[in-house]
């Protein structure tokens, strides 16, 4: 690993902007989407109503969270037409761009956990608890069983994703305590603890992403100089190796469902190994 902070080589090779392109785009998307929801309550400019659970844009475009609607179905309730249309649109969108793209480009909790991770690196905090990354699928299963058994959207009592987003738009209450707990957990207890190990929302979107079209490709994987910067910045470190090192003859494309398409590996690679591209076929930069 290069002795400097990850990304320094890329800054030297490509310039600061090119080495932060996707990061800037991602933050713009996260904050922009949040602002779209907020200009309504703040300035009375109603572009988007609702929150990430269900929203209605310009009184024409319904969007609904499929994970939540699945819980409602298991709890024994069939939603109205608009919600079903909204689910269909969202499912199609994430089948195209990759399920966990939601995590990196939309979800507001990601801002919080990325901040925790940034601070963790800055403070040089290492180690901590170990949990399998499959824990999230167990939690996902548990939330679905809980919905079916209690007949309520049990997970929504605690879901930090909707708690933060709803809190910002409709009033936070004590939700900040839950979010602070997640921040501290990610900072002191486990690297990428929430988003990378526990969050069932991300786990659900990763299942959609299994078939997603937009992927990170590695058109120049032979140019890799093993600086490990991509590995250092990746929120789901296990996804890179098979494609980069052609483990078991893997094609030069990250097919792991948990790649969040954050594009940070593209940014920090001084050798331009990575690029966005389709699931199959040629890559484009």
């Amino acid at each position: 690993m290069s002795s400097q902070r990850p990304g320094m080589e890329a800054i030297a090779a490509k310039g600061w902007f090119a080495a932060h392109r996707w990061l800037i785009l991602r933050r713009t998307s996260q904050i922009g989407i949040l602002l779209l929801f907020l200009v309504g309550p703040w300035f009375g400019l109603w572009i988007v109503k609702g929150n990430l659970n269900y929203s209605y844009t310009l009184n024409v475009l319904p969007l609904a969270d499929p994970y939540l609607l699945l819980q409602a179905l298991l709890a024994g309730h069939t939603p109205e037409k608009l919600a079903l249309i909204g689910v269909a649109i969202v499912l199609l969108l994430y089948l195209l761009v990759g399920g966990r793209t939601y995590c990196s480009f939309v979800c507001p909790v990601n801002l919080l956990t990325d901040a925790a991770n940034w601070l963790r690196t800055r403070l040089g905090i290492k180690g901590g608890a170990h949990l399998s990354r499959t824990t999230r699928y167990w939690i996902l299963g548990m939330t679905l069983v809980a919905a079916a058994l209690t007949g309520t959207l049990a997970w929504e009592m605690f879901n930090p994703v909707s708690m933060l987003h709803r809190g910002l738009i409709f009033g936070m209450g004590l939700a900040w305590a839950v979010l602070l707990a997640i921040f501290l957990f990610d900072l002191f207890v486990m690297r990428q603890g929430w988003c990378g190990h526990l969050c069932p929302v991300g786990a659900f979107y990763s299942l959609i992403g299994k078939f997603a079209q937009l992927r990170i490709r590695l058109p120049a994987r032979d140019a890799c100089n093993d600086c490990m910067d991509c590995f250092a910045v990746c929120p789901e470190q296990q996804v890179i190796r098979p494609a980069l090192k052609a483990i078991k003859g893997a094609p030069p494309v990250i097919l792991e469902a948990n790649c969040t398409n954050c594009g940070r590996c593209i940014d920090v690679c001084s050798k331009n190994v990575f690029a966005f591209g389709g699931r199959t076929g040629k890559s484009n930069t």
């Binding site: 309504g40 109603w46 109503k49 609702g50 929150n51 659970n53 269900y54 929203s55 209605y56 319904p62 609904a64 969270d65 939540l68 609607l69 409602a72 709890a75 024994g76 309730h77 069939t78 939603p79 109205e80 608009l82 919600a83 909204g86 399998s132 499959t134 824990t135 167990w138 939690i139 299963g141 548990m142 939330t143 069983v145 809980a146 919905a147 058994l149 209690t150 007949g151 309520t152 959207l153 049990a154 997970w155 929504e156 009592m157 605690f158 909707s162 708690m163 709803r166 809190g167 738009i169 409709f170 009033g171 936070m172 209450g173 004590l174 939700a175 839950v178």
Partner: protein, 287 residues
């Protein structure tokens, strides 16, 4: 030898896998148990929280409402809130507090139209049929009308005046010569909008709106109301009704509603019997 090692390694890997699975299942199961109990507890709606019009019964509602806040947004009077995590109901579900801001009963019911899941039932198209809650005159000791005043505010502000709340005259036994105008809520017409609770002028409202499951009683299924059955049948079902005879002092007569009076002279024509309606509360078509 090699085979033996392999199968031993296989066995230990299997053991490890089973142990890991068991650990995960137990850990996550415990979490789920906690979450489940927490969610079940929250399905009991606290008395001060009233759901928007058309809300499904609470047990269904908490499985149907996706906490999006569309109803909150489309309420033109901003009376609705989404429950915060520390509040004693399902996090993120909509409610209003009548004493703070009651429902204005919009005729087009925008909150129901906005609901994408039908947690607010789209079958509700007439706001007067809404059953958000039920007003109850809980405190007879502080209700000004019970004290003999003509406050009448709850009656006057009621959007379904004379149907949901009526004023039923009763004798004021304290003074012996006045009438109490007792506000009576009729559950078939009350929408639970909460205007009465909001307007009640006492320090703490004497009339309050509660979720219907708390406020409404129910007779056993086998109960029959004699007077209703009589009306249906067009006559008494029990026995032929004999006109009641009063044993009165000589020269006196008794008339229902008027009481005792001196008999008219025998040669006078008896006045045509007049029917004085009973006070509404005594008429017996209400419980």
């Amino acid at each position: 030898m090699d085979n033996e090692n392999k199968s031993r390694a296989k066995g230990s890997a299997r053991r490890q896998f089973l142990a890991d699975t068991a650990r995960m299942a137990c850990g996550v199961g415990l979490l789920g148990l906690g979450l489940g109990f927490y969610a079940r507890h929250a399905t009991a709606l606290p008395p001060a929280a009233i759901r928007p019009p058309g809300a499904l019964p609470e047990t269904e509602f908490s499985g149907a409402c996706i906490r999006c806040g569309m109803c909150v947004r489309d309420c033109p009077f901003n009376i609705l809130h989404l429950a915060k995590p520390e509040e004693p109901m399902s996090t993120g579900t909509p409610y209003f507090v009548a004493r703070q801001l009651p429902c204005e009963m919009c005729e087009d019911i925008p909150c129901v139209k906005a609901c994408p899941t039908g947690a607010l039932d789209h079958a509700l198209t007439d706001i007067n049929k809404a059953q958000m809650g039920l007003a109850v005159l809980v405190d007879h000791e502080t209700c000004l009308n019970f004290l003999g005043l003509r406050c009448d505010i709850c009656y006057r502000v009621c959007p379904v005046i004379d149907k949901a709340i009526t004023l039923d005259p009763q004798t004021n036994l304290r003074t012996g010569k006045h009438t109490l105008f007792i506000p009576v809520v009729h559950s078939d017409a009350c929408t639970g909008c909460g205007k009465c609770e909001k307007a009640c002028p006492t320090e703490i409202a004497a009339i309050k709106v509660f979720p219907r499951y708390m406020a409404k009683g129910q007779l056993s299924a086998h109960y029959r109301l004699g007077w209703v059955e009589k009306e249906k049948a067009g006559g008494s079902l029990v026995a032929p009704e004999v006109e009641h005879r009063y044993n009165l002092p000589e020269g006196m007569q008794y008339e229902h509603g008027k009481g005792l009076s001196a008999s008219p002279p025998a040669d006078a024509v008896p006045p045509a019997p007049t029917f004085t309606p009973l006070p509404k509360a005594l008429q017996g078509d209400k419980l």
